[in-house]
């Protein structure tokens, strides 16, 4: 199981309480008709492909190396900026918390930023999972 699929599973679990948001468990947020899918399908969480970066944590005289792997995954949610649904704050909190359930990591971080275009607000979440 990849970190992305684990994260999608956990996001689905965390958002099961609400009917205002759904999770697209299959598609990447590709562009369709000039817009990414999360703009075309509002109130749907899309999880992007994971990016992996490897750094050398320890290097030894016999050329043994211990590698630190950082897996970065972005998720997107767009919704109406004029009239947010009532539990948007809980949804955002649960999206952030989804990272905590991923096991086997040395460190996990999650944060988000927002951008408003016309009457649409887009939440962009970034999850970082560090493993050794």
């Amino acid at each position: 199981m990849s970190k992305r699929s684990d994260l999608i599973t956990q996001i689905s679990t965390n958002l099961a309480f609400t009917s205002n948001v759904t999770v697209n468990t299959t598609e990447l947020p590709f562009e369709s008709g000039g817009n990414p899918l999360y703009l075309n399908n509002m109130n749907t969480v899309y999880v992007d492909e994971q990016k992996i970066e490897e750094d050398e944590l320890y290097k030894t005289l016999d050329q043994g190396t211990v590698t630190e792997t950082t897996t970065t995954i972005n998720a997107y949610l767009s919704t109406d900026a004029k009239e947010s649904f009532s539990d948007i704050e809980t949804v955002v909190a649960n999206l952030l918390l989804a990272s905590n359930a991923i096991t086997g990591t040395v460190n996990t971080t999650s944060d988000y930023e927002t951008a408003i275009t016309d009457d649409v607000i887009t939440y962009t979440f970034e999850y970082n999972f560090i493993t050794v």
Partner: protein
């Protein structure tokens, strides 16, 4: 003249055995300590300083040499706690930890320029393993430990022929 490059993974190799023959670099059943981050061979003559009324500087004379080998390593389970397959070399069989706690004398060599080639240099001696202090943290991710060999006697330089 040339500096000794240690970046290709074949120099600066510590080999330990329960006999001098089992501590020669590259020997079968010698215990090569893996994952060494840094290693220092200390060959230090002891000195005593004294002052005299007719001199504005102190003088010194040497006493005995105090030699040691110190290193930092990532803990390898087999080397630290024993390799049951190596019954020839009791240091390898018991591991660094048990050898240290039992205060068993070991023989060692530090390959300076590599092994197996005529002209390769190594420093050898015998002594006691000490200074083990395995440390783990979530940030460090693996067990790390310093290690020291307190040399009993003199260090010798050998050139492979």
């Amino acid at each position: 003249m040339a500096v000794i490059n240690v970046t290709n993974g074949t120099q600066a190799i510590l080999t330990i055995g329960n006999s001098e023959a089992l501590a020669v670099p590259g020997v079968t059943n010698g215990m090569v300590v893996p994952f060494v981050q840094d290693i220092t061979v200390n060959a230090t003559p002891g000195t005593v300083r004294y002052s005299t009324l007719d001199s504005t500087s102190s003088s010194a004379f040497t006493t005995v040499n105090e030699n040691s080998v110190s290193l930092n390593l990532l803990v390898d389970e087999t080397v630290m706690f024993g390799d049951s397959a190596n019954t020839t070399n009791t240091v390898a069989l018991n591991g660094l930890f048990a050898t240290s706690t039992s205060k068993t004398e070991v023989f060692f060599s530090v390959a300076i320029t590599g092994t197996g080639t005529t002209g390769d240099i190594y420093i050898a001696g015998k002594g006691f393993i000490g200074g083990l202090a395995p440390t783990a943290s979530i940030d460090g991710a693996v067990w790390l430990s310093p290690c020291e060999i307190i040399v009993n006697g003199e260090l010798t330089k050998t050139v492979e022929s």
